[in-house]
C-alpha cells in the first residue's frame, strides 16, 4: 500500500514537472475552450427553437477531449517513453508489482483530470457565463461519466503504450489517432451533423460516449432530440464505457511488459 501511495505522489510530481504534458494535454483544452468560445459567438439550437450559446455547446465536447488527453494520451506516451529511457527496466529489477505501477498511473490520471475538469468548468462559468446545472441529477451523470471515462482512458493508455516502437515516435503514434477520434466523436463538430458512417465508427470507441454523456449533463434536455437516437442513451454509454474499462484492464494485464 505504501508503494502505491509513493507511486501516485511520484507520478503527480513527474506530470507537473514535464512541461510538454502540462502544456499539450493539461492546458490545451482550456486554451481551446477560451479560443473557441471567443471566436464562435453564434448560438446553437436544438432544432425546436431552444438555443444555447456556443460556449455552452462546446463545453461537453472539450470536457470529453480533456479527459481523453489526460488519461489515454498522457499514460500511453508516458509509459512508452519510460519503456525506452530505461525507467521500466529499472522498475523490473525491483519487487514493485505491475499492478502497483498501473494504480499509480490511474490515480495520477484521476487527480490531474479532476483538476483539469474543475478548471474547464470554472473558465466556462466565470469567463463565458455558461450556466452550470443547479440540480443533482446532471452532476451525478457528470461524475460517473468522468470517473468511468477517465479510468477506461488510463487503462487503455497502458495497453496502447506497447504500440509505439520508440520514445521519439510515441508522441505521433498516440496523438494522431486521438486527434482523429476527437473529430469523429463530435468534440469540435456537432455530432448529429456528422455522416452516419462516421457516427457508427465513432460509436465503437469510448470518446463518443464520454462526449454524449457530458452533453446530457450540460445541455438542456431538449437537445437529446438532436442526437442520432433521439435520446441520451445513458444505459448504452455506461455499458460501452465499462466494457472498455474491462477491455483495458485485461489487455494491460495480459500485454504489459516491463522490457522492450
Amino acid at each position: 500500500m505504501n508503494a502505491v501511495r509513493a507511486r501516485v505522489r511520484l507520478e503527480l510530481t513527474l506530470f507537473a514537472r514535464q512541461k510538454d504534458t502540462v502544456v499539450f494535454s493539461f492546458l490545451l483544452p482550456i486554451v481551446m475552450l477560451a479560443l473557441f468560445a471567443t471566436v464562435f459567438r453564434d448560438d446553437v439550437g436544438d432544432g425546436h427553437g431552444a438555443t444555447v450559446r456556443y460556449a455552452q455547446y462546446f463545453l461537453p465536447g472539450i470536457l470529453a477531449a480533456g479527459i481523453g488527453l489526460v488519461s489515454f494520451q498522457t499514460v500511453a506516451i508516458g509509459i512508452a517513453v519510460e519503456r525506452y529511457d530505461g525507467t521500466l527496466k529499472r522498475l523490473a529489477a525491483t519487487p514493485l508489482s505491475p499492478t502497483s505501477y498501473f494504480l499509480g498511473k490511474c490515480a495520477m490520471v484521476l487527480v490531474a483530470s479532476a483538476v483539469q475538469v474543475a478548471l474547464l468548468l470554472a473558465v466556462a462559468a466565470v469567463a463565458f457565463r455558461v450556466p452550470l446545472p443547479t440540480q443533482a441529477g446532471p452532476w451525478v451523470t457528470f461524475a460517473w461519466v468522468f470517473l468511468v471515462g477517465t479510468i477506461a482512458g488510463g487503462l487503455l493508455g497502458v495497453a496502447y503504450s506497447s504500440v509505439p516502437r520508440s520514445a521519439s515516435s510515441a508522441g505521433a503514434v498516440v496523438a494522431g489517432p486521438v486527434l482523429l477520434l476527437q473529430f469523429a466523436s463530435g468534440v469540435y463538430f456537432n455530432f448529429p451533423d456528422l455522416p452516419r458512417w462516421l457516427q457508427t465508427v465513432a460509436a465503437v470507441f469510448p470518446l463518443k460516449w464520454i462526449a454524449q454523456g457530458m452533453r446530457s449533463a450540460f445541455l438542456p434536455g431538449g437537445f437529446a432530440a438532436a442526437e442520432p437516437s433521439g435520446t441520451w442513451q445513458h444505459g448504452t454509454a455506461a455499458l460501452v464505457l465499462i466494457g472498455w474499462t474491462l477491455t483495458g484492464l485485461v489487455l494491460s494485464l495480459r500485454t504489459f511488459r516491463w522490457l522492450t
Partner: protein, 296 residues
C-alpha cells in the same frame, strides 16, 4: 581443516558447490546465427566478488541479463539464489540488486524523491541518510537528477541497486566513463558492500578494476569461459619476467624465466650495483591480452 593455502582445491571445491549463489551450466544464448553465450559453466560463491572480464561482444552483458531475469536462456540451466531468474516471482527481486549499464532516466525527479519512492518497494531498505553518505551524495539530495554529473548519476544508480539490502548485487560496467576519483569512490563503496557479506557479480573491461575489487576473475571470450581464477594467480600465469637495466649508457632488457639468476649474473658481470635495474612481472593486463590474443 588445515589453513587454506590455495592448494587444497578439492576440499574447497566441495564447500563451494554447496554455497553457490549463482549456478550456470551449459548456458547458451543466440542472436540469430551468432552465439553470444556458448556453453558457459560458472559458479558464483556466497560472499565473493566475481568480475566478468572480456572484450566487447564477449557476452558479458548477455550473461548478466540472463542472470538478472531480463533475457531468456536458449539452452542450459541458470539458478540464482536457487531460482530460475526468468520465472522468478517478484519477491525474488527483494534479494537481488541490479545496476544497469544504461543511463538513468526521470531527470525531473530529485535524488531524494527517487530514492524515497524506490525504498517503499522493499521490506527493509537502507536508511536514506546513511545510504547517501555511503555513496557520497549527501549534498545532492535535493537536486534534480538531470543536473547531476555522470559520476554522481552512476553513484545514484548504485544507491538504487543496493537500496533494498540485496544478498546479491549485479553491476554492469559500474565505472565506465567515470573520472579516476569517481571510480575510486565507487570501488570503496562496492568493497564495503562485499565486506558486509553481499555477493557481487560485476562486468568490466578494466583490468585494474578487476584486480582492485574481485576475489576471482572470469575471463569471457566469444561467449566461453577462457579462464577463471584469483587475480594474483592469473597474473602468475605469465611466468616470464622482464629484466631492465642500463649498460654502456644504453637501456637493455631481457626476458627471463629465472630472473633472480639473471640478476645475479648481471651483478657479477657488472661488478656490483646494476644501473637502473627493474624486474617487471607481467601485469594482469599482459596475461589478459595474451589470453585474448590466443583466442582471436
Amino acid at each position: 581443516m588445515p589453513p587454506s593455502d590455495g592448494c587444497n582445491g578439492d576440499a574447497s571445491a566441495a564447500i563451494v558447490v554447496a554455497m553457490a549463489v549463482i549456478e550456470v551450466r551449459r548456458l547458451t544464448k543466440r542472436y540469430g546465427e551468432r552465439r553470444a553465450v556458448d556453453g558457459l559453466d560458472l559458479d558464483v560463491h556466497s560472499g565473493e566478488v566475481l568480475a566478468l572480464l572480456g572484450p566487447n561482444g564477449a557476452g558479458k552483458t548477455t550473461t548478466l541479463e540472463i542472470m538478472e531475469g531480463f533475457r531468456r536462456a536458449d539452452e542450459g540451466i541458470v539458478r540464482v539464489l536457487g531460482i530460475d531468474p526468468w520465472r522468478a516471482p517478484r519477491q525474488h527481486r527483494e534479494r537481488v540488486g541490479v545496476v544497469l549499464q544504461e543511463q538513468l532516466g526521470q531527470g525531473e525527479l530529485t535524488v531524494d524523491e527517487l530514492l524515497r519512492t524506490t525504498a517503499t518497494y522493499y521490506p527493509r531498505p537502507w536508511d536514506l541518510d546513511a545510504l547517501l553518505d555511503a555513496v557520497g551524495l549527501p549534498e545532492q539530495r535535493r537536486q534534480r537528477i538531470k543536473v547531476l554529473s555522470g559520476g554522481q548519476r552512476r553513484r545514484l544508480d548504485v544507491a538504487l541497486g543496493v537500496l533494498g539490502r540485496p544478498e546479491l548485487l549485479f553491476l554492469d560496467e559500474p565505472t565506465t566513463g567515470l573520472d579516476p576519483e569517481a571510480r575510486r569512490g565507487l570501488w570503496r563503496l562496492i568493497r564495503r558492500l562485499a565486506d558486509s557479506g553481499a555477493t557481487v557479480l560485476l562486468t568490466t573491461h578494466y583490468l585494474d578494476e578487476a584486480e582492485q575489487l574481485a576475489d576471482r576473475v572470469a575471463v569471457l571470450i566469444a561467449g566461453r569461459l577462457a579462464d577463471l581464477d584469483t587475480p594474483s594467480t592469473l597474473r602468475r600465469r605469465g611466468n616470464d619476467a622482464t629484466v631492465h637495466w642500463t649498460e654502456c649508457g644504453r637501456p637493455r632488457s631481457v626476458v627471463s624465466a629465472a630472473p633472480t639468476r639473471t640478476v645475479a649474473e648481471l651483478a657479477a658481470r657488472l661488478g656490483g650495483e646494476i644501473p637502473d635495474l627493474v624486474v617487471a612481472r607481467p601485469s594482469l593486463e599482459d596475461v589478459y591480452l595474451r589470453l585474448v590474443g590466443e583466442h582471436a
